[in-house]
Amino acid sequence: MAPSVLYHCPCLSTSSVPPPPHLPSSSYSFHPLNTLFFCEECDAVRCNQCVSVEVSSYYCPNCLFEVPSASVRAEKNRCARNCFMCPNCRNTLAAVPADPPESSDGRISGSVNEGPYILYCNHCRWDSVEIGITFEKPTGLAAQLQKFEDSAPDSLEFDRLKEHFDAFLRQSALAASTTAAASAALARDIPGVGKYNPLARSTNNRGYGKDKSVNRDEMTEYRSRSEISQAAGGGELDVELMNGLEEVDEVASLDQRWESSWVSSMQTKDLKPIRIPLHSKRSKRCPACTHILIKPEQKSQSVRYKIKLVASNYLPGIVVVLPHVRQAKEELLKRNLGKSVSAQAEEPSVGMVAGRSYEFQLNLTNPLYDPIEVRLSVQRVHVSTAPAKEGVSPEKAKRPPFAISLPTTKFPISPFAEAWEYEDDEDMFGVEDDELGIGPTSATVKTTKDKDGRARPKTVGVLERKANKTVVGGEIVIGKEAQGSVKFNMLVSYTYRSDDPAPSESGDMDGHNARAPEIKTFSFYTVVDLGPIIPREEVKLDL
């Protein structure tokens, strides 16, 4: 698995400190940056698990028809036009004219457009003739099938059940009220009977006569519309089918059958095409302040958003790279240029072996139009004084199996400028550095560059600055006995200068910022996953 960085959303726990990354439940607190939102009012990260969701429109993902919300109900959340899914492979079905009955030279174009039409799967070649469904015209297919759906045995039976219970409920409500009245009258007339002791109740019942009480408890017998013993499928037929089964594929899989509430055939060949489920466009709100975080445009064809407060516009993006893995992969690619399959088998061997140290790089990208200063700090599960030596010590029960060293000082990332997007990477090198030198953050840049120059061989520190990206090097020392995977929580805090809470509005505004800039700090947690540790004695350690 490629190394990854996930961002923390604090919605699941009350404390702001994220759970230690080795717990399985912690994976639910961390999300990829592109799924997160950012609420400007609360100044907080929001994830898909905590936002409140509202549907803004419904549409069919296949024909992109916008379904008015009033008819979604009647159409059972599925496309009521021509869109069907293959029951076998869930591919979209195409309505094609059926072959004319005689296959001898009758392939003249005249008959093609006349029908009958069938549904055909381009992927698995299923067609609806197999289950005896043909259409007179190639449009409004669902409407043509509607009559089958309306007369589905489960809905008919359901209506009958409902009538049955409705009658019973009415009757019992009536009976209850008369009983109550009668007993109240009894209680009024005869003082001693008013108490609801069981004896009084039972005699009461008896007094009312058998016929009435029978009606009340023992509901009139329900006669099924179609009894299970008379059903077409199920029972001994299925046992026989299973007994003589030749191929697993003859029987439909569980998820192809489990939605039907009516006893039906188990066989794959009897599966019906599925109307494509509708999708919805959703707008999402912050759970705390109910401000809209994201709001799509109503039209189903449009992929734009009216409001879009996504976290990637606010938080620096972080990509983690393991140079040795990348190198190894590149070499592997070169070697295996041409050979295809065997490369896969070798890939896992490139990893981190216990007892060694590796460098890794964090590529930070600044999405803001202001320069930011970032400080990284690794959250340690166990407090330790000498992190560099930590990993070497054999007591892994008490101490973390690996140690991380990252630059602890602040480092700057240049602002995002749209112009850079249009330039080639290669052009940027020379020009950008000069430009930066003139910029407001020149002092810091210089110092870090100097530092950088001195610290080159260390690999820990700022390695490279390019446009709005900064590459930071870190080092990891893995203990000899270490197992599991290298995962650590990292607190990222950054300061930016802005008097405008919405810095993403336009570059001009920020450029001519006349007012006294306010320095703001925002910090968030991430979990960095560098991948699994390969135990040293891989042969001896099984499992």
Binding site: V72, F158, Y196, N204, D217, E218, E227, G234, S261, V263
Partner: protein, 637 residues
């Protein structure tokens, strides 16, 4: 705070119930018309009448709108590969439990949100929710679900017992319902709409056990053909040369699940099995106990161990009495057979092999080949798993063979019958309803019927145990557990039996197979949909009440609440929120309850009735149901 249960209770006390059935159905009907309901009515594309019906299993969830004949969506709660959301037991280590709860909550939240946003595409604010619960669903899970739902602003949540709903789905309110789910099978008698909760019977023989048993059988008896190393080898090397035992890695959860759902079925009971048992014993010379009893899980571990430790295991467990009922669940390492010279061990394994070969002989089911992903991508293409036909047919035997601790499905039903009053037995025995996903195995229900009859026919459920003991102490009278039920034999009928046997009595004829042809797995959901459409369906917990409780709970955690006195009498440690959730285990309040409770309830007359909350999820107070049933049965029969 006294207003918490007021709405439902006040409505209930309006109708002084003489019959539980009318009371229950009726009262929740009235609750529907509470002022809250009208005020929260808002414009929504569906209207608010239809509720969201959620049947949350530990593995599979069914969700949809009430008033519809089938659910809108069915999905695995924790992904296809993942295990059940919750298990029968919780870890005791507080740290681990915290983690476990956290996982559960996260997954529940994920599922519940996806119900609204992905499956139903509806706004949770406009929808009342019916949660279909199995009667033994732990309170902390219910509380967690309610909390998550209310966090998502649903107007109200009601919990309805799955067994009662299943009965409603077949148009009845009286019957003995057995729900064979994933974690356990639960038999619950229901009379006139009142679940007799104290008479509940459970057994862990259910879907999960079937899966582990199936896996064990496949490991031992199935054949695996790894993919040929080269394309030419596929032609040149005969399949027999490639055949190996099944590596455990091949049998992923997904594969076993697929075999279970697509290949397995339940064959009819073999009469020859008992005969076989005797013959085998005679041939082997009798004497020592013929076999060992152990669970599959143990055996799985044993498989991984060396053969010597395996032998030790066998000898230790062989001291346990062998039982016909559990013999077939023994999975032994066949490699151990040749290398272990201990006679008893060899005998028991030989016995197992013989049993397997007996099944093989009697089974006409075809062997199946299935494509599986190989362990290591060494050769070309997919590996092949050959599943013997008899495994497909006989894997489910484990569900019908109980032992002392875990009663079989038939015994579970009979035990429930034993516990219910005599005058109800005939009625309930003739209206057994089988629901749940495990019952979807073809042939399951007819087999269950014949197993019930068989357990009544044989003098004792574990015959071999008795024969063994009678050899030593011949004077011991046979313990005949179900003798009192034997007269009921002609009346046994399973409502949703797709192929009922010829009925022995008029009553059985009138009931067996007369249920509508809903699938067993969907019965509870259909019933929930029906209950929602009829505006009944359990006592509601309304969001306002919940939120109110939450605020007060926040003020002080130890704050003693007057309205909470009822539940605090029984449990003081439970979190406040859960106190407004209906819970039949926590209401010992029946008319003849201890005076302390009666005094606390205030006015005696009203209190007595308030103490019998007439919701389906509250217990039928045993005393009333007895009285009630006695007066009734004279009429009914």
């Amino acid at each position: 705070m006294s207003n918490v249960p007021t709405t439902p209770r006040a409505n209930r006390t309006v109708h002084h119930p003489t019959t539980p059935a009318t009371n229950r159905l009726n009262s929740s009907h009235i609750t529907q018309a509470s002022p809250h309901y009208t005020t929260t009515r808002r414009h929504s594309l569906y209207g608010v009448e239809d509720r969201v019906v959620v049947d949350p299993g530990s593995r599979i969830w069914k969700v949809g709108f009430s008033g519809e004949g089938k659910p809108r969506d069915v999905f695995f709660a924790a992904g296809k590969e993942a295990q059940a959301l919750w298990k029968l037991s919780r870890t005791s280590d507080p740290q681990a439990r915290l983690e476990e709860d956290k996982m559960l909550e996260v997954r529940l939240r994920h599922c519940l949100r996806s119900v609204f946003h992905d499956s139903l595409l509806t706004d949770p604010k406009a929808r009342k929710v019916i949660i279909i619960e199995t009667p033994l669903l732990p309170m902390y899970i219910k509380e967690m679900m309610a909390r998550i739902l209310f966090e998502n602003q649903v107007p109200s949540v009601s919990f309805a017992p799955s067994h009662l709903l299943s009965l409603m789905a077949v148009g009845r309110i009286t019957g003995l319902v057995i729900d064979c789910g994933h974690l356990e099978s639960v038999a619950l008698p229901i009379f006139a709409g009142r679940p007799l909760f104290p008479r509940i019977q459970t057994t862990p023989l259910a879907g999960e056990r079937l899966t582990s048993h199936l896996r064990a059988l496949l490991l031992m008896f199935a054949t695996y053909l790894p993919p040929p190393t080269s394309l030419s080898a596929a032609i040149n090397v005969p399949a027999a040369n490639r055949a190996t035992r099944v590596p455990p890695e091949v049998l992923s959860d997904l594969v076993v699940e697929e075999i279970k759902t697509r290949c397995c079925f339940v064959g009819p009971a073999l009469d020859s099995r008992a005969k076989f048992q005797e013959e085998y014993n005679a041939a082997a010379g009798g004497g020592a106990d013929s076999s060992s009893a152990s669970s599959d899980v143990d055996m799985m571990n044993v498989d991984a161990e060396s053969t010597s430790s395996h032998a030790g295991f066998e000898s230790t467990t062989s001291s346990q009495a062998g039982e016909v009922s559990s013999e077939f669940s023994i999975i032994t390492n066949s490699q151990a057979e040749s290398s272990v010279p201990v006679s008893s061990t060899v005998r028991s394994e030989g016995y197992l092999e013989a049993l397997a070969s007996m099944y093989k002989k009697h089974s006409t089911a075809t062997d199946l080949k299935m494509r599986v992903t190989p362990v290591q991508q060494t050769g070309t293409g997919m590996g092949t798993l050959i599943i013997p036909g008899w495994i497909r047919e006989r894997a489910a035997e484990v569900l019908f063979e109980g032992d002392v601790d875990e009663s079989s499905l038939a015994e579970t039903i009979l035990n429930a019958l034993l516990k219910i009053p005599v005058d109800l037995r005939k009625t309930l025995a003739s209206s057994i309803l089988v629901s749940g996903g495990t019952a979807m195995l073809p042939g399951f229900i007819p087999r269950l019927h014949s197993e019930i009859i068989r357990s009544l026919l044989t003098p004792t459920p574990p015959p071999s145990r008795n024969s063994d003991s009678s050899k030593r102490r011949p004077t011991l009278p046979q313990y005949d557990k179900y003798s009192t039920l034997r007269p009921l034999m002609p009346y046994f009928a399973i409502l949703d039996n797709p192929s009922p046997p010829t009925a022995q009595s008029e009553r059985a004829r009138g009931n067996a197979g007369k249920a509508p042809a809903f699938t067993p797995a969907m019965l509870a959901w259909v019933g929930g949909s029906l209950a929602g459409a009829l505006k009944t369906g359990g006592s509601e917990v309304i969001r306002e009440n919940w939120d109110e409780l939450g605020e007060e709970g926040d003020e002080s955690n130890v704050h003693a609440d007057d309205a909470m006195d009822i539940s605090e009498l029984t449990t003081t440690a439970t979190p406040k929120k859960s106190n407004i959730l209906p819970d039949w285990t926590r209401s010992p309040l029946r008319p003849g309850a201890p005076s302390a409770i009666a005094a606390k309830l205030g006015a005696p007359a009203a209190g007595a009735h308030a103490a019998v909350p007439s919701t389906p999820s509250t217990p039928a107070p045993p005393s009333t149901s007895f009285n009630f049933s006695r007066s009734r049965s004279s009429v009914a029969t």
